[in-house]
Symmetry: C2
Subunit: 414 residues, 2 copies
């Protein structure tokens, strides 16, 4: 079954706003075996909308329209679908009551205008939208002699997504042949994308019934395995078998077998070992701390740390001897080691992490180029150091260095 | 002039990837007076592509096709445009030479396949692509009796954007009536979007020749003013006049008159006052430091700070007396003040910032709910405190708190 998603709204034809609902809906459609063949973005002009809807009906079996269901004059999706299909609109009493009830709850007046949100296509099923004022609509109809399923869903993500899940998906499932989906997400850190693909392509290409997607970002590789079958267990077996072979090939590059983030895995290992972590960051300027503290409950294992951006702070907060900085420079393996061990001692943490480098765009030398970052992880017994020169701009260097730092902590804990 | 942008590539019809080039190109087209009436996303199927191209030619004067110009069998944009317009392709000798030269530079073999990137539409101008292997193409032609401008540009952003700027824009300018654009971006912090609009709508709606866009995100409001005229100075005058009136209305909510970020402004004021800043963050977990250190050269005014996630670290790094924490709790105005003043003393900074709160999702009480954050800024003379309860999930609370913290530092410096 081929589908088309139409996002309605002139704001999405500006340089400033982008449709994001369609990614969500695409994922949900794929899970029930529906591919998205086209996406269209159309402004709030009735003529354009009618043309886009007719085009979609001419090339897709399922058409999802998002947005344009509000109360303003610019909200024309209802009217455009009615015109494209030569249907009329009727005012739905239950929806009128819903609008009055909402206005009463919010103690707001109810302009006449607003009632247009209760207009539904004569043959449509009305889809309740508890998070907003305009309902969704479901139309099972024919166009040019072919059966078409048409859904109208509101644009705001907090209305669109639950309504699609609760109202559209069950209706689609009832109409489409039964399909079950199994999936797994594996994640690996710091392995070059080309190397990952070289390792894995010979494996996953032999699983023609499992769809493998590789996403790479700043030292993080996600492998998304998806298998759709009429039998859920059979689908799960295939995904698990492929995942097992990929895990083996990735060896210790792999950090997660079920989609967890690197910071979640670091916290998981810390919890398992009843260990705590503290960090002394220079060039990453708080990014390591920020990623860890983004995880609820991180305070159980993460004590905190210091952003020792200036040299005196490296001494004040991480006990780095000023002579060491004078001798080797702030960006050196020696200072990274001292930072890791110093922050560990100062905080009483089990593990200390030190990161110091040159994020750029200036400050590089021939000997110490922009992008050079030194890392150290200390457990009191042994300090492990690592260094690497990352390419790219300041933001990229900092993102890669943060990922590398977290991965070194993970490896220390393994 | 109406345009349509077609993004070509099956990966953009998955839940994982989104076209982003079109936002960039939309901005550039708008600047020369071209509106984008439709955007389409099509997979790598020739039939779908031909249909999408014909649809676009039927409703737009200018069609920009992005992607599908590479060497693989899935790269079909050239062939689809040729079919849609009944044109033939020719192999361009200069491009064949370019491909051989690139392969030689990279010391790579040159598969026969690759040469297909040198195929251009018989009547197209070839647009040089110094950052990649496939050239762009420019076609000034007719379709159904109407003049159409068609551009084929490569998909990778680092190829697409410079090629569009350097090759497509000058050609479009030569064809379109002359237009000059003036613009300004004002930014304001922590003013509710509805309040900003209430203040500003009576002003900007009277400037019908200036397009005002309001973008709001996590306590940051951007006001983008754009005016297009045949005379640049006249356009600039209108934008500056409107900007002046908006600046006045926004009063000290406004922090930037020309698009600078809040952290840039904070660093600017610190530099101006020859002052330095250090921060002690608890619930924001490094996000304040991270935003500041993202700016090149921030090390001149930002000393660093401490992520004092645990109570003992609040004492160890920010001199917060344990009794104070015991008496008032870690999330209190008293502790925020002590953190601000403590980190200032410990680092010798001119200003100290303290942030402590409950990011959630758990840890809230009736008295101290999730989202409650206490802030303090100390300059040694006086400690200014502020507290607010932010709504939303952990990520949202942390983002708003970070913005609020930076804004308090700005206000202290003003």
């Amino acid at each position: 079954m081929k589908s088309e998603i139409i996002a309605v709204g002139s704001e999405m034809l500006t340089p400033f706003r982008q449709d994001t609902n369609s990614l969500y809906i695409t994922g949900k459609l794929n899970e029930i075996g529906v591919t998205v063949a086209f996406k269209s973005i159309v402004g709030d002009r009735r003529k354009d909308l009618v043309s886009a809807i007719r085009t979609a009906l001419g090339r897709a079996d399922i058409v999802v329209l998002m947005g344009g269901l509000g109360p303003t004059e610019d909200d024309l999706t209802r009217e455009a679908v009615a015109e494209a299909l030569s249907l009329s609109l009727r005012r739905d009493d239950a929806q009128v009551a819903h609008l009055h009830a909402r206005a009463a709850t919010w103690r707001m007046p109810m302009p006449e205008n607003n009632l247009k949100q209760a207009d539904v296509l004569e043959t449509a099923a009305v889809l309740s939208n508890p998070n907003g004022s305009a309902p969704g609509q479901w139309l099972d109809t024919t166009y040019d002699g072919y059966r078409k399923l048409i859904m109208l869903v509101p644009g705001p993500p907090n209305e669109c997504r639950p309504l699609f899940d609760n109202e559209c998906l069950p209706r689609l499932r009832a109409v489409l042949p039964p399909r079950f989906i199994a999936r797994r997400t594996l994640r690996a850190a710091m392995i070059p994308e080309s190397q990952a693909d070289k390792l894995l392509a010979p494996i996953y290409t032999t699983y023609t019934d499992v769809e493998t997607t590789i996403l790479a970002h700043a030292g993080d590789i996600q492998l998304i395995l998806l298998c759709t079958k009429a039998d859920l267990q059979a689908a799960q077996r295939r995904v698990d078998e492929l995942a097992g072979r990929m895990e083996e090939a990735l060896d210790d590059w792999l950090y997660s077998s079920d989609g967890e983030t690197l910071e979640q895995i670091v916290l998981y290992y810390l919890g398992l070992r009843q260990a705590t972590l503290a960090v002394a960051e220079s060039c990453t300027g708080g990014m390591v701390s920020q990623r860890i503290t983004a995880i609820p409950g991180s305070s159980r294992s993460f004590l905190g740390g210091a952003v020792v951006y200036s040299d005196p702070l490296k001494t004040a907060f991480a006990n780095v001897p000023p002579e060491l900085i004078a001798q080797h420079g702030a960006v050196s393996a020696e200072v990274a080691s001292a930072m890791a061990d110093g922050i560990r001692r100062r905080t009483g943490a089990t593990l200390g992490l030190g990161v110091t480098g040159i994020a750029g765009p200036t400050g590089g030398t021939e000997e110490k180029p922009v992008g050079l970052v030194h890392f150290a992880v200390s457990d009191g017994q042994k300090t492990t150091t690592y260094s690497r020169t990352f390419r790219g701009d300041r933001e990229r260097v900092r993102q890669w260095a943060t990922q590398q730092a977290l991965d070194l902590v993970r490896r220390k804990l393994m």
